[in-house]
Point group: C2
DNA sequence: AGAGTCTTCCAAAGCGCTTTGGTCTTTTTG
DNA sequence: CAAAAAGACCAAAGCGCTTTGGAAGACTCT
């Protein structure tokens, strides 16, 4: 059932039927009702390929997925996706993932824009002066950055969480509890979120005349194994930290294992706070010692990004407004006063 | 730059240029060379929307993503996706995720097929007599099932791993080590993979005259918390199991925690084998007691599914061939002879 | 030499929608 | 009451590609 057939059986022109269906004002309300009714009854759905060709709109949002033999997709991605899906579903938006060589995403971005394959894109895990952000900005496709980049001579729209504030508050709490030697087990410090977390922590320490020494900071991909390695390295030093802030729940699994291997205890010997993106399958309150966290749901962020993308596509949102969501500090059993 | 312009500047018809580019035989080889050369020089890329409208081919594969407030996307998905991306990237295939209400995926399947939004789809986490499989089968779109369904009067193409064999071998090993009371912590037993694992385990036990009692089997969503709960329930019985097979690494984190909470040890009091889908961020060899596993890379499965989908789209693959990949049994420190 | 056969190329008809630029009534306005 | 404005509808021109159904010329065959 296509437009031609439908308009023929209604004894109307394709123009009128099309306009009736798309809510244009220049059609009689009764006619519109008739058309909508008939369309529903016959299950008419405009062919998206045809509509795309005519309008250039696709009803899809895009994401360039970095891939490669040595590239692992972050498990955070799936939670973000859940949120994105929550919103997209109710708006019949589809998401197209375009796999790209992690070292050459530009080609893919250019392709999907040149081909008009999607109406908007989002960018995640940005780095300072991220080339992707500059690129999509010049390409002129609507976009939202999930996270933040820095060091551009232009503004851009983003949705981020207050990583700096979260880690600032976490560190301040630890200092208030008497800790003087703090350490940070961070994610990949080429990414902005990691830089912000470090910055927040340094700021809190500086407020009490403390610093974060080079020996007290690790920056690694967020796996359990790397959490373990980092913790061992930190705790086997001559002057080990008495408190650690950790960028990921998965890493902190490794931290907990290292602490146990070394015969230490949490929070007796070590206070631990980790960032929690709120995974349904791994909860900080269920750690053997319930884990204190800086918390922010990445799933809600996904839904928000989808919402903003939809708004930008339909022209409801414009400009380069960035929004920063607060991060909760949730205190559980894994923090205590400094030992000694 | 479109076909019209290109053909005009070559002083050829659109027909000829199109055919030259698409490798049709009825064009002079020298002409073809000229055309291809000019196309490359001017960066001509056929507009996919137009091509879609004309041919119906989209160059995309589809996946209907179940969503909903209470629906969590499995972290396995992201690993599968990595593999899919690995293959898709090198073939300029995109993946479109169509979010759907988890309780009404049929509408979405019908939509993407009726609209010709994708060339093929894959289905994951199938259940026995899965309606999605029956649906896409009648809808006539090329598809591959990742996993298996059962109880149809037709065959269908699938790529699965030998869940039954893997858990059979695991259970047999435990029995050979003298264990008599085995338990299974399974995933959602409405899904085929869980049924197969249970079946494999029962078969191994039966071979030694043993059985798997109702009290020795748990079936839950695969989260850390559920692993913990299941393990507590099993181990606090009057006649607790001396060995557990567990369907997921994430769940087994909870099992390990429960064992510790109860003051027991692995493998002294309990032998543990879990299924490992090979996540880069959580490795069984790094558990405090290295975990024995049944192992099969879900990422490789993703790449294989993409490959088969591509083959079916281009007509290279036909028929309902199913393939079952072997599962490795990797023995590490978490298994030992039965206590006592 | 005339009839068939290749080879190579083309004009034009879709694919199914949106949108432009009207036309024909009917209503409002000075 | 004539002129202007508004309302309701339509024919046809795209959007940019693929494909159908030739056509013209070069070659082969009897």
């Amino acid at each position: 059932m296509n437009l031609k057939q439908l308009s023929h059986m209604l004894a109307l022109s394709q123009t009128t039927v099309s306009r009736a269906l798309n809510g244009y004002p220049e059609v009689n309300e009764e006619t519109r009702r008739r058309v909508i009714d008939a369309a529903k009854r016959h299950g008419y759905r405009p062919n998206p390929s045809a509509r795309r060709l005519a309008t250039g709109k696709t009803g899809m949002i895009g994401y360039v997925l970095p891939t490669g033999a040595s590239v692992d997709i972050d498990p955070h991605f799936v939670e973000f996706l859940s949120g994105l899906g929550d919103y997209a579903r109710s708006h019949e938006l589809d998401l197209v993932l375009s796999p790209a060589d992690a070292d050459d995403q530009e080609t893919t971005y250019r392709r999907i824009v040149a081909n008009r394959q999607v109406d908007a894109v989002y960018i995640s895990s940005p780095r300072p002066a991220d080339r992707r952000v500059a690129l999509v900005n010049t390409l002129g496709i609507p976009f939202i950055v999930h996270g933040r980049s820095e060091g551009f001579d232009f503004d851009y729209p983003f949705t981020d969480i207050d990583n700096e504030g979260g880690f600032h508050d976490a560190a301040r709490l630890l200092v208030q509890l008497g800790h003087r030697r703090l350490a940070l087990i961070n994610g990949d410090d080429r990414e902005t979120f990691a830089i912000h977390r470090e910055r927040g922590m340094r700021r809190a320490l500086a407020a009490s005349g403390l610093t974060l020494g080079e020996r007290h900071i690790c920056s690694l991909t967020m796996t359990e194994e790397n959490g373990y390695r980092a913790a061992r390295r930190l705790l086997e030093q001559s002057e080990p930290p008495t408190a650690i802030a950790c960028s990921s729940l998965i890493m902190s699994l490794g931290v907990v294992r290292a602490v146990r291997d070394l015969g230490l205890t949490i929070p007796g010997d070590l206070s631990l706070i980790a960032h929690d993106d709120v995974f349904p399958w791994l909860r900080p309150e269920n750690f053997s010692v319930p884990l204190s966290t800086t918390r922010s749901s990445i799933r809600l962020a996904g839904a928000r990004v989808a919402e903003r993308l939809a708004a930008r596509i339909s022209g409801l949102e414009e400009g380069a407004r960035g929004e920063v969501w607060p991060v909760d500090l949730v205190v559980r059993g894994s923090v205590a006063g400094a030992p000694g």
